[in-house]
Amino acid sequence: MSTATAGALFVLSLVAALAVAYRFLGDYMHRVVTGTKHNVLERTVYKLIGVNPAAEQSWGSYARSLLAFSAVSLLGLYALLRLQDFVRLGGGADFAAGVNERMWPHLAWNTATSFTTNTNWQAYSGESTMTHFVQAAGLAVQNFVSAAVGMAVAVALVRGFARSRTDKLGNFWVDLTRITVRILLPISAMAAILLIAGGVVQHWGDGTLVSTLTGGQQHITGGLVASQEAIKDLGTNGGGFYNVNSAHPFENPTAWTNWLEIFLLLCIPFALPRVFGRMVGDNRQGYAIAAVMGILAIAGIALTNAFELGGAGTVPQAIGAAMEGKEVRFGVSNSATFAAATTLTSTGSVNSFHDSYTALGGMMPMINMLLGEIAPGGVGAGLYGMLVVAVITVFVAGLMVGRTPEYVGKKISAREIKFASLYFLVTPALVLIGVAAALATGNWKTQANVGPHGFSEVLYAFASASNNNGSAFAGITVNTPWWDTALGLAMLLGRFVPIILVLGLAGSLAAQKPVPVSAGTLPTHKPLFIGMVAGVAVILVALTFLPALALGPLAEGLR
């Protein structure tokens, strides 16, 4: 079987598995977020937190709870990182002769922001900087709760569509708890055990020091990797236990664990439209949203594969394949598929190094991120991002035919459009202002490559941070006070400003009375609308970022 055929089958098998997940995981998640019966564990959690699970919140109150929780998370993680020099628990970090990479304040700020915002940008190197304790009790905790926060926001927005004449959007603490306890924890536990069966380590200690066949020394590292790996993918977080992330044989040992990890990072984002469809009482709306995500995702995966298998560029031509920065067990095609999947979602874990991709192959992850990570996007963040695009699409369609735009029974008036368009201005502003600032202040000079590729490293860094992805053109050195601070701000604003706008939109929608379907209603479940949403998403990105892409990957690839 040729590499291209095998690679296509790999993608098709993922599509089939995701179709099953859409139905069953989607229905299960629907029960979780709409259920009102709480189990013992959940009731204990509510009691310990001190909240009444029956008390629902307005959008403002929901947002304040969410922001308070995220602020406390950020401060708590910052403290834990700064204190790890004094509290050394478990192996890791201090095994190497002296810790040469310390958690300085700027790095701790960057890392704490990174994990609370579901970005998992890593300016540190896991194996030399972090103790096992901090990875498990600090970073992995944020992997769970930051994912749950994203899903909670999506659910609140869907409640805004589904409910009428109310200011209640649910209870943040209940959503956080139920999503973590009933969705993220059980799936992670199952995935972690499967990963161990594949060879991923789960070891509380310094590992094993061995003498190699030719008499050298090698440190076989330990760590609580499997438990962290599972939620890293499932929660579309992406922060690797080790520096080389899912390329490390202890994080991703075989071709089938690679398949499993790609499935994990796509399954919740692709199943959430089902929750949307069921909650608004029309499954076809869910199918339509999933279809837009699917079309954009398959296009992204196919193009990345085509460019990488094509192997254009001087060095790939000299090598004979785009094998630099890729592992033999994954090969070119499955690496490209992972790269597309990790940037179509907000994951940012990598099993190959995007910096060494062909010029156009490396542009695809950038485009995927700049699309706003909506196809299917991060857990929760993908759904609410896509719903905002749908709102903009009905507005554009309404302008074209001269009707008041409506979406799933709600009027899209000036107030909703203000929230939606502000949402769409946040990340482009952060990316472009960030890149301009790096260039103007001379901080771009930490790049590893020269010419257009060096510019691509800077563009990639801000695209990744502002969209809460976390992958990188990793040659660039970003552990400097300027980069740590600037990217930390991009991550923070790129996460929470859109969240506030989405919750505002949700509040505004929930307060409306429903609009009955009439002959003038644009059907939002038909192929025409699906095509329009995909078109609007692509055009918005193309208009915004084409000039920047022309300076980087296009200049490099179209010589």
């Binding site: 602020a71 190497a96 924890l185 050298g216 044989p249 398949w259 031509q317 499955n334 053109f473």
Partner: protein, 286 residues
Amino acid sequence: MRLPSWIAQHTAAVRALLVFTVLTGLAYPLAILGVAQLPGLRDHADGSIVQADGKPVGSALIGQLFTDADGNPVARYFQSRPSAAGDGYNTDSTAASNLGPESVEDTLGPDGRQSLLTQVCARSKAVGQLENVDGRRPFCTDDGVGAVLRVFHTEGLTGAVTRVVSVNQGCPAKPFVAAYEGVPVECAQPGEDYSRGVLVPIRGGAPAHPAVPPDAVAASASGLDPHISVAYARLQAPRVARERGLPLPRVQQLIDEHTTGRVLGFMGEPGVNVLRLNLALDRLPG
């Protein structure tokens, strides 16, 4: 006394963080650690350690160097792929090269830095010599650096060619081509700024499918790749057979035994686990 709501909000947040830290940061990983102690999982969870003569010699999943103290390949062992992890296969500083597809120009001199192209060319030449095959590749000079010119024109990017430098060949090296568009090619002087010339990689006459396979000249993503391609293993078989005094078919049979195909026929790519293959060679009687 009732707390103001903004403070109450934060006490709830602090409590929630503590509760979820206990639940997802301690209980969950420790429960998985417990499950990992089950027979069948424990060996994997501890790092798939491989033993020889009762001593641990590595992990079945982690590649290692098969070189002597000076870094030269030990000829009786199959060699791993190039690695960017520290000095090679250093598990405490895993890394990829992160050099791009147009990293073609070296910085010459004592603080110089090799471009990715030159690294590829040098590796190909070295592997070619070790295995007694043609190490030439497209865009490489015969002396194992990137075949790249800086071409100066009268009008900057256009116009007649005024000067041509082979930028990766420091003087007194002999340029890989004598002349370009009628202008003699110079060797490069370290430290001199050639950035005003146009960068022109020259493909040259090397075969389209070089004898040395791609994975032998490209560094892996992790720097710890335990596998090499089947092609690279077959390339090394005659040398290993000769060094060990084994018939070539026996070595080729061992390669086949240690080749893992695609999972279910379509996932990933075939590869040969180098440590396991070398261990199997060491275990052969005689």
